[in-house]
Symmetry: D2
Subunit: 304 residues, 4 copies
């Protein structure tokens, strides 16, 4: 049995002193003001045990990590009909490019590029009367923590500056791949991205993907097959234009966010969340990526 | 001296009986209801003489032809600083593609693709307090006809369905190439496109481009150099992805619109406007393009 | 313990009767003449046991499957310096497109698109005096079968019609990413693709990738880390533009070839080879893809 | 009447002293050794008069200028069937990109991108027994100067380093848009580009395009319509990715070459050739472009 606590402490110690911690996202004030020295790791084992180090208990903006949660929420409702409106192929392009969307007639390459996540949000807006509340309740239930909340100030800032997302949503609409009003869909999208969680809460929320669909309280949230499929998409598409690199270096399904968080998991074993706000040039947490590389090297645990 | 009246009557007769007149634009009801049998030609010679045949006196939606007028309005104000925000190269792509815009960091390829015309509209919104009225007055003065007006119903329909233009404007905004609010800029853009004019009015309005910058009333609207530059852009970029074909087959600077109108001109000689609402697969008037080909073949007049 | 023999017989029976078996590759006579009714499956378990059904003992052209073998041959020699000349990201494009190669300055997206495999071949030509013989000996040793051979007629046909590969190699050369003569590199490339193997031989040859780098005779061919990395690349890039779909539907690292073969594997468990010559529109074996989907559904075995 | 001699002397004087003369092409030794201080202008009026200044009598490598000559040679033979294999739209891309060629199924965008000129060369190889000699004789006849010749050393250097052209030719072949062997076609192509001519010889050779198809000796080489069409293509496609800029700033049909030469012309008036070996970042002669801008500004002569 691996001594996870020992491993994550070693990883934390090794990386804490790195001078280059990447650049904190600066497009909205709420993100740019975060201290780049924050660094936390949390591991939740399938057997219920937890391991933690550093700033694992500080909430941060989950941003694109929310895309994996919204996919998990929508999958049992829409099932395979999702894939008539979104593909599951890696984008081969940075995360906010519209070119491929246009070339491929408004079908986003996968649910984790912005355009794909906006289509998922559109499905939720169609299905639920109050999709924002439903989404928030879902996250709270998964993490078994009712204190989790939106950061309304972040959501508002995203709305005021998110011209790229408005462009994507309107382009989807022009291809008849958005059923609801652009404003309604983006209202959900900006709020889901604004949710703040700690490393612990994230590890708990994603527990179901390491546990064949059953959440922390062992309630079936997804079928085993649905959980596997989300894992497959996280592995091939979870890290923008760096998905291949992450599979290559780390070898775990995962999802990153521009807030500096990363969630990753080994099916039937554990989930692991890291947080370090500085990003590399691909938009993924610089130290978080290194931490996961070190972690899988030291534990010799990967899906490969 | 060419007998222009004879030529355009022969062209009109030859094409009037064609069974394939192309497909009328169908994305808004106001355009889709136009009778595809409409077909008019009007020639305005630099010496003041006019020649007309068919439905030359029926107003139609000028649509993208307005882009050449807005360029003419903005050029004497912003002069060469325009070209810091827009390029002058052919797009090599259909008229509403965002891909190149994204690849080229928000600098539209030329002022006649939608994104480029939206930047021009942005300049007018910045410069004028009431840009819509200024634009309308400019067109009325150029054509020497105060009855010309917006079609508010068309403008409203464009606003309700113009998701591609909203996408373009937001993408420009995300690249900091739009100074004003997306809604304000598109409000001008949709109204300028909605203006209705007859072949005669169009021929008169573009008179200045055949007359070294001096309009019908011989007032200098553009310097000779500015008129030449607009002509050069019309030749290389005036027909979406068919600009090369038009230069090759017709050999005149010109601009087409999705309403089925085309304006073309031979510097120091004449302007010619055609209208036939059915479009070819590139979005240009099918019969209009053929009419101009026949016209330049019969008159042996082209810039080459 | 799963009854593998039972499972593959059920899969074989279920798919054998499908009327649509896809289209056999037709660009060279040697491939177009293959009977599309051929269908074999072979499973090699890490514990040494074998399971087989159908035409598992008929040799076929391995084609692109050879790209994973050449990567395995080159990796212990050039180690991480490989990645200065080739990336590890999915291509997001069909397998023979040069556009991305040009956009990305001659760095192939991954070692499994043709351009990437040609760079790998170039490394072998630089390193070995007789690279074709070295490559063949390596395959024979891995599969523990000295009867495996090139099909010289296939290699010759590929050379006479492989204009796309000549284009790729010359484009690489123009970007200074090819050290040797185009002809020398393509000579190795066309020969490695022409190798003929049975499902059994393939399963044996790839045994090392399921066995932490140790081949059938338990000799270390790759470090454990190198084996994992090839698996990661197979998962994200092994199926042309269908890699995401394969990860999503099957959930195993694998590699397909235009000859209708597919090799896939579950680390620490087994390798599985299928062969059915008819291809789907993405260029992967239609029945082979379905067989692997059924296999992982029935056995509930995947990396996710 | 304009005093052309006066104008070109003023232009020459103004630009001769510019310190930034651009960068001489360096990919083959024969071009990189040219003195960047060379600068000549030659004007040939339709009335037979000539005007010259500077190094107008020094031969230089015409390179891509030869593409306009090969189009003129092939047009009366293949007529409109040429356009089944090549389009006439601007490329919207730098001159050696293969991406569009691939996207558009092997149909080059126009006859002046390398791939298009290679298809023209292929037509000549199909039609003539000794296409190189036919091409050379054609140039000699047009310029009325039998001393014009290939530079075999340049042609050989191009062959040894022209991997991008080999890539283009093989890609064309893969799309069945090349009838002959790649080597045979490129042998003609590299030789036609290697021809050396003076400004005077170029002005004379292109005389027919300003003279409705009749060459210097008033022999009809092209119909009037064919001459106009080549002029239209030169205007829209003659300057790589800078065609719009050239139309915009200069307003004459023309063609440039990487050897630093530019030919331009005003139909029914004159041809003008400039030579200055330093290139701008788009691959056109830096001083040559400026000279033509100044020339048209001073003479107020352009097609617009």
């Amino acid at each position: 049995m691996i001594d996870f606590q020992n491993v994550i402490e070693a990883v934390h110690k090794e990386l804490k002193s790195e001078t280059n911690k990447g650049l904190v996202a600066s497009y909205i004030p709420e993100l740019s003001n975060i201290n780049p020295q924050n660094f936390g790791i949390f591991v939740k084992h399938i057997n219920g045990k937890s391991y933690a180090v550093g700033d694992w208990n500080v909430p941060f903006s989950i941003q694109s990590i929310s895309k994996a949660i919204s996919l998990a929420l929508v999958l049992p409702i829409y099932k395979n009909s999702i894939w008539e409106r979104i593909d599951v192929e890696p984008s081969g392009n940075p995360f906010n490019h519209l070119s491929l969307l246009e070339l491929e007639n408004g079908i986003p390459r996968n649910p984790f590029i912005n355009a794909g996540a906006i289509v998922i949000a559109d499905m939720l807006v169609t299905h639920f009367k109050n999709p924002k509340q439903v989404f928030l309740d879902y996250v709270r239930d998964l993490a078994n923590d009712q204190t989790i909340d939106f950061n309304y100030s972040v959501a508002k800032s995203e709305r005021l500056t998110g011209f790229g997302n408005y462009a994507a949503a309107n382009l989807l609409k022009s291809f008849n791949n958005l059923e609801n009003d652009v404003e309604d869909v983006l209202d959900l999208y900006f709020h889901q991205c604004s949710i703040e969680m700690t490393c612990e809460q994230l590890s708990n929320a994603f527990f179901m993907l390491a546990n064949n669909g059953k959440c922390l309280q062992q309630k079936e949230r997804l079928t085993s097959s649905q959980a596997k499929r989300i894992n497959a998409i996280m592995l091939t598409c979870g890290f923008y234009d760096e998905a291949g690199e992450f599979a290559f270096e780390v070898g775990l399904p995962g999802k990153s966010g521009v807030g500096g968080g990363i969630i990753a998991l080994l099916p039937n074993h554990f989930t692991i969340a890291t947080w370090s706000p500085g990003l590399n040039e691909k938009g993924n947490s610089l130290i978080g990526m290194k931490a996961l590389e070190l972690f899988t090297t030291k534990t010799k645990r990967s899906i490969f």
